[in-house]
Symmetry: C2
Subunit: 170 residues, 2 copies
Amino acid sequence: MAATYELLQETGLGGLTVDAVSERSGVAKTTIYRHWPTRSALLIDACSKLGTRREVPDTGNLAGDLSVLAADLAHRLRTARWASVLPSIVDAAERDAELARMHARLHAELISAFRAVVERAHKRGELPRGRLPTDVVAAVLGPLFYRRWFSREPLDDRFVKAVVDSAVKG
Amino acid sequence: MAATYELLQETGLGGLTVDAVSERSGVAKTTIYRHWPTRSALLIDACSKLGTRREVPDTGNLAGDLSVLAADLAHRLRTARWASVLPSIVDAAERDAELARMHARLHAELISAFRAVVERAHKRGELPRGRLPTDVVAAVLGPLFYRRWFSREPLDDRFVKAVVDSAVKG
């Protein structure tokens, strides 16, 4: 599994083969196949352990909760292993239904704390009028993902604060 | 080039080889190499013709201009060929400096009309106080990209309107 992680980072999902995992780890292919009958099974197991789930904060209001989560996510987008692997999963999900289901599970895990604080705020009547919980989640995660993977601009504190302010305002 | 486009859609950048282009097009590899000396040269030429640049609208105000551009982009994210190819370019850009430069050029083209209308509005003093032009671009493109490639929720008219409203408000 450690070799699989390493290769995922180096090559993305596309370049990851059981041959390469065997070579990197020194574990025979037959042994690998005993634990994971297919390449997909190995990939899904590795990706499910990328560890993106977070505790749900409770600062008393939506802006505070989102500030905690967005600052933490921005930090992980800059530094965490899964941030360089996720685009290869998104790419694979475009063409492979099994990997699309895995990506959907990973995504649900990644956003679970965001959803929880936004839905709690929605029940308290804290969301701007006409704004749905999923709109607010997209308004926070969208710009952070955009800067990490598309524009590659800095994910600095000023930007993270501007994103949260804009997401919670009416 | 047509075969290259087809294969880009089917396999993404990772699976695209000169062998596969030769087989699909019926053009000999030696002929392909005469036009494009390397696989990268072929990929860069194909991607540079994905055609994401748009005219700059002039409706008289930022909300109007962004509504036109965001509706058009949402439509293309749902239907255009490049929308299923871009994640493979983003993925490759994580690990390959030449493809990262190509992705940066593609991205600049994709957002050029957005940048133009936001910078014009900035000069007119139309942006909310403390909001930078790049913040506004990220506030529009981020949520649209997020829904297309990450959450895979619908990019419907209501959502596009909510994104633009939120991006232009103070």
